[in-house]
Amino acid sequence: MKARVTVMLKAGVLDVQGEAVRHALGSLGFAGVNGVRQGKVIELDLAETDAAAAKTAVDAMCDKLLANAVIESYRVEIL
């Protein structure tokens, strides 16, 4: 079973890399980009076959390592 974790900076935390991308898009002539937020996607290949158990396990992985709760939020999708 596969899982996809999306880690983003929390709302309200200034994303300086996202801002740089926004400026770059503007200077390339892409108008109307009001905001860019940059995050990361982590794909996991799991031995677990039960979706609920996989979700619980991946949530624990996020809390322990994959995301820093001080500045980041995460979303888990079981695929």
Partner: protein
């Protein structure tokens, strides 16, 4: 007094930190990240700068889960001293020994230069050797030194006088110009600038020496 300096894969200031401790009179033990215990009788643990585990995932995140990290947690929990510099500061925040987090520099560039630091409190074994408000010159070398903490956490740090150092001219966007913070018991210090690089006049300055000397002196009295 005994210091232990930790080495992770990718640490690159571990030897400098060991030398800084030695020059202040500490007996220094070098510790590997896979060690699960600290040497007997260690008074202070130094977590050095560098790029532990290649800064993969987040700076300091993987080092914070290493076997030695559990031993450092135990050491801190029983009132031991811990000094984290640069990547070491990032490791200590990831271990939740210190509040807040270190994000990408606001200007996005890696910054490597000597900066002015103000000593924001002298109420710690690390900063007792400076005059309050004194400005010292210490180098920074980091890409992710933009200290952030929520408003409530910042208010608590300030109310408890736990900001150790502030930048005279903020190089990286850190909230409230914060360059270093103390734990609630004032025995864990994390800072982005490198005091261990300025303990020898022949190598660029001596403004960092008072930190190690005060630590040695303070612990000898305790």
């Amino acid at each position: 007094m005994k210091a232990a300096v930790v080495t992770f894969p990718g640490s690159n200031c571990d030897r400098d930190l060991a030398v800084a401790f030695e020059r202040a009179g500490f007996e220094v033990a070098r510790v590997w990240h896979k060690d699960s215990t600290l040497p007997q009788g260690v008074d202070v643990v130094g977590v050095p700068g560098g790029f532990s585990f290649g800064d993969y995932l987040r700076c300091g995140a993987i080092a914070a889960q290493s076997p030695i990290a559990a031993a450092i947690q135990t050491h801190a929990a029983r009132g031991g001293y811990v000094l984290g510099i640069c990547n070491g500061f990032q490791v200590l925040t990831e271990m939740q020994l210190l509040p807040g987090a270190l994000m990408r520099n606001a200007g996005l560039k890696f910054i490597c230069k000597t900066v002015g630091l103000k000593v924001a409190t002298t109420d710690s074994a690390f900063t007792a050797g400076y005059a309050k408000g004194a400005e010292i010159s210490v180098p920074v070398a980091h890409h992710d030194g933009n200290y952030t903490i929520d408003a409530e956490g910042l208010a608590q740090l300030q109310a408890e006088d736990r900001v150790a150092f502030t930048y005279s001219q903020n190089p990286n966007g850190a909230v409230a110009d914060i360059a270093g913070v103390l734990s609630a018991n004032r025995r864990v210090l994390g800072m982005m600038p490198h005091p261990e690089r300025v303990v020898d006049a022949a190598a660029g300055g001596t403004d960092g020496a008072a930190l190690f000397a005060a630590l040695m002196g303070g612990m000898a009295l305790a």
